[in-house]
């Protein structure tokens, strides 16, 4: 928690929005605080690839003027927001943190999600780090910032929405855009001790976002709280004509059910595929059980479940992700192999080991898993798991391996990408070494509001999400 003498800005997006409307702060002041954090810590944390200081100040001034004139665009109005640099924003080029992407890809144009954020009054502070093309691990030999974890700068942030996770944790912005193809919203959220919400596949348009795997890519928020994630999702959700995979159903009020109670909610607890794993940190099981106890105290009924076809569905994810990604990158890999990050090119190259019939069977498996999962969700409303078996790996651990398979096996996010269901991670404690641990909740397709309700109820009873790294002003983990 913070020192009681710390004169910091409001801790959450929701708090900041309330403070703006109460006249206790201004958008310009919120931006100034965020900018000061970036000035102080970005060189060490590697959050930003490009800062839009002038444009952000103009947007903040405009937001203040609008509020003063009685125009209120909603909870994101005047709020500093970061954008992962695989998402196009009109201020400059998109790099995907790669030497390979064409310089003019999406240049000078907003992706639909960025345009929606601007319409909601958000102040876009800049483009933030990712893993190259949203896959793989850091590469110190490439000319991009190395994202470092605000809780321990010798540790990685997780990826691929690395800068978004670290930037929220370090208070460089209140929330940011992430993308999730195998866990890239939820892994950095979990490793950096913030909240992250992967919406249902098709809930948010992904046009204007550099493709990793078109049938798996999800766009969604990272923020300090589940409620913040709900407010952010409200601004970016909904059908868009440029993405034929977006769903046409109406967008509900994602905060409407968040009343602090989980009465009547049945939560399936999945231990079979998530606990007693190789490399599991000793703190994970206890933190998970404590989190479950809080959910029960808020009124939820807990039942043990086993997720159907877990191992086969993860194989389907691998086949789908690597095949689709290699299809996108093969031409560039043929001529620019060494320009790719060391881990990305190995992961992408694995696609040659997969066949067309592997790919078709993977799509059959995803449908089969969806059908059996629907049966499970006929008996429970949510499924709870740990987000990962350990805290963030250190850079020393990553450097010791080419592609660190052990790290891949310690995260438990990919199943939900394969089936397309929404999933939320919220902080649930720390390792003995002071690295964040997180709870993962998953819901039926298009039931993000229930996830926000559950995460919010949990966070009304806990303060893990409000803890601030000592580096940026907190006093303890």
């Amino acid at each position: 928690m913070r020192s009681t003498t710390d004169q910091s800005p409001p801790p959450t997006l929701t708090d900041a929005a309330a403070a703006l409307r109460a006249g206790e702060t201004t958008a310009v002041e919120l931006l100034a605080a965020a900018t000061a954090r970036a000035d102080a810590h970005d060189a060490e944390l590697g959050v930003y690839l490009a800062r839009f200081d002038d444009a952000a100040l103009a947007a903040a001034e405009r937001a203040d003027a609008e509020l003063a004139a009685g125009t209120d665009r909603g909870p994101l109005h005047g709020i500093p927001i970061g954008v992962k640099d695989i998402v196009a924003a009109r201020e400059g080029r998109t790099t995907a943190q790669s030497l390979v992407l064409d310089d003019d890809w999406g240049f000078g144009v907003d992706a639909p999600v960025v345009a929606r954020l601007r319409d909601a009054g958000a102040v876009i502070t800049g483009k933030v780090t990712t893993m190259e093309f949203a896959c793989g691990f850091p590469d110190a030999d490439k000319p991009f910032p190395l994202p470092r974890n605000p809780w321990d700068v010798d540790a990685w942030t997780g990826g691929s929405s690395s800068g978004t996770g670290a930037g929220v944790a370090a208070e460089m912005f209140y929330a940011g855009i992430g993308t999730d193809t195998g866990g890239s919203i939820r892994i950095p959220a979990a490793f950096c001790g913030v909240s992250g919400l992967m919406p249902t596949y098709g809930r948010v348009p992904k046009s204007g976002v550099v493709t990793l795997s078109w049938s798996l890519d999800h766009v969604g928020p990272l923020a300090r709280s589940a409620r913040d994630c709900g407010a952010f999702l409200q601004a970016i959700a909904g059908c868009d004509a440029t993405d034929p995979f977006t769903d046409e159903r109406p967008v509900p009020d994602f905060l409407a059910e968040a009343d602090g109670s989980l009465a009547g909610v049945r939560i399936g607890v999945e231990r079979a595929n998530h606990l007693d794993r190789d490399g599991e940190d000793p703190a994970v099981a206890g933190a998970f059980e404590d989190a479950l106890a809080v959910l029960a105290e808020r009124g939820a009924t807990l039942v043990d479940v086993v997720i159907p076809h877990y191992r086969e569905t993860l194989a389907a994810l691998w086949v789908t992700q690597v095949s689709e990604a290699l299809a996108y990158h093969r031409r560039d890999l043929q001529t620019r192999w060494d320009d790719y990050f060391a881990s990305a090119r190995v992961l992408l190259g694995c696609g040659v080991l997969l066949s067309g019939h592997d790919y078709v069977q993977a799509q059959r498996m995803r449908r089969l898993a969806q059908r059996h999962l629907a049966g499970l969700f006929a008996t429970v409303d949510l499924v709870a798991t740990p987000a990962a078996s350990a805290g963030a790996p250190t850079y020393a651990e990553l450097d010791a391996a080419g592609v660190p398979i052990s790290v891949l096996e310690r995260v438990h996010t990919g199943y939900w990408d394969a089936v397309g269901n929404p999933a939320l991670v919220v902080p649930m404690g720390f390792t003995a070494g002071g690295l964040p641990l997180s709870l993962q909740l998953a819901a039926r397709p298009f039931e993000e509001a229930l996830l926000v309700r559950a995460g919010d109820a949990y966070q009304r009873a806990t303060d893990w999400h409000l803890r601030v790294p000592p580096l940026v002003g907190g006093v303890t983990a």
């Binding site: 093969r330 190995v346 059959r364 080419g402």
Partner: protein
């Protein structure tokens, strides 16, 4: 999956640059999923399942970025 088969598949895809260490990493990664991939073909229920791919006989209504 044998190293020779990997070499042949990389060559067929026009990917000649992976180093020996990178080729070994690819084989190790593939091995972690090999049983799961085999299961995709072995599961009886998978055979008659409709693949999670839908073709629509209509182009997208709009493109990004707009012309």
């Amino acid at each position: 999956m044998s190293p020779a088969l990997l070499d042949a598949l990389l060559a067929a895809a026009g990917l000649d640059d992976p180093s020996p260490q990178e080729r070994a990493e690819m084989l190790a990664l593939h091995a972690t999923f090999e049983d799961g991939i085999a299961a995709l073909h072995a599961l009886p229920e998978c055979r008659d399942e409709v693949p999670a791919l839908v073709f629509r006989a209509q182009p997208p209504l709009d493109v990004w970025p707009a012309d």
